[in-house]
């Protein structure tokens, strides 16, 4: 049976790639907030909130 997960370590030499990753990761919270605000405005969020 083939493994589901294969792990490896790599030394990065492609700086353009690593810079692109870091730049993209830094925008995650902004995108998350946009989705959250839109869900709040549309009223979707209030319908999803579970009771504690």
């Amino acid at each position: 049976m083939k493994p589901k997960v294969i792990t490896k370590k790599l030394v990065v030499k492609n700086k353009a790639f690593i810079d692109a990753i870091k730049s993209s990761v830094s925008k995650r919270d902004e995108i998350h907030q946009e989705i959250v605000e839109a869900a709040k405005k549309s009223g979707v969020l209030s319908k999803l909130v579970p009771s504690k």
């Binding site: 370590k9 030394v11 990065v12 999803l48 909130v49 579970p50």
Partner: protein, 174 residues
């Protein structure tokens, strides 16, 4: 265990769900083919999606502490729901990198979730990308029926280990 109700988010291919612990999660499948714009195999006809999980506090109340098992169930359900409709040709990537230095733990958690999930013909290649004293944990998920499955991991490893600086890339594109 239960699954939280979720809904599509405003961003394409995104989902949102609140939890009873007081957190609000988003799961986004963001097109990330641009990472590989100069590599035909990895660019994959633009079928590359980055899986992003993010959470914030739901309201002004402090969230409850502890592990909420329903989050795992819900995220697995969203992954299944989304991947099922996309076929075997897309590549999926998952990146753990953050200022809080908890990325290794997050990747371990993702691997545990992934291993426990019925992933059918999907295989996760998990990489620790070492760069100047820090690590970025990177997952590449490829379907075993993809026509390039035998070359994609090797191509990715070469892509990462090939020296290329940002300014050279900028110059080349002009």
């Amino acid at each position: 265990m239960a699954i939280y109700e979720f809904a599509p988010g405003s961003e394409n291919n995104s989902y949102v769900f609140p939890t009873k612990f007081g957190w609000l999660y988003t799961v986004t499948f963001r097109n990330s083919a641009d990472y590989f714009s100069d590599n035909g195999i990895l660019f994959n006809n633009s079928l590359v999606s980055e899986i992003i999980f993010t959470r914030s506090v739901l309201n002004s109340d402090a969230p409850l502490k502890g592990i909420d098992p329903d989050v795992k169930e819900t995220i697995q359900c969203i992954l299944h729901h989304h991947l099922e409709g996309q076929g075997h040709l897309p590549l999926y990537i998952f990146i753990c990198y953050s200022a809080d230095k908890k990325e290794a733990a997050r990747m371990d958690l993702f691997i545990k979730w992934y291993a426990a999930f019925d992933t059918a013909d999907w295989r996760l290649h998990s990489y620790e990308l070492m760069d100047a004293g820090e690590s970025i944990y990177y997952g590449l998920i490829v379907n075993l029926n993809h026509p390039d499955v035998s070359v994609i991991p090797h191509e990715f490893e070469q892509f990462v280990e090939k020296e290329k600086s940002a300014w050279k890339e900028l110059f080349r594109r002009r």
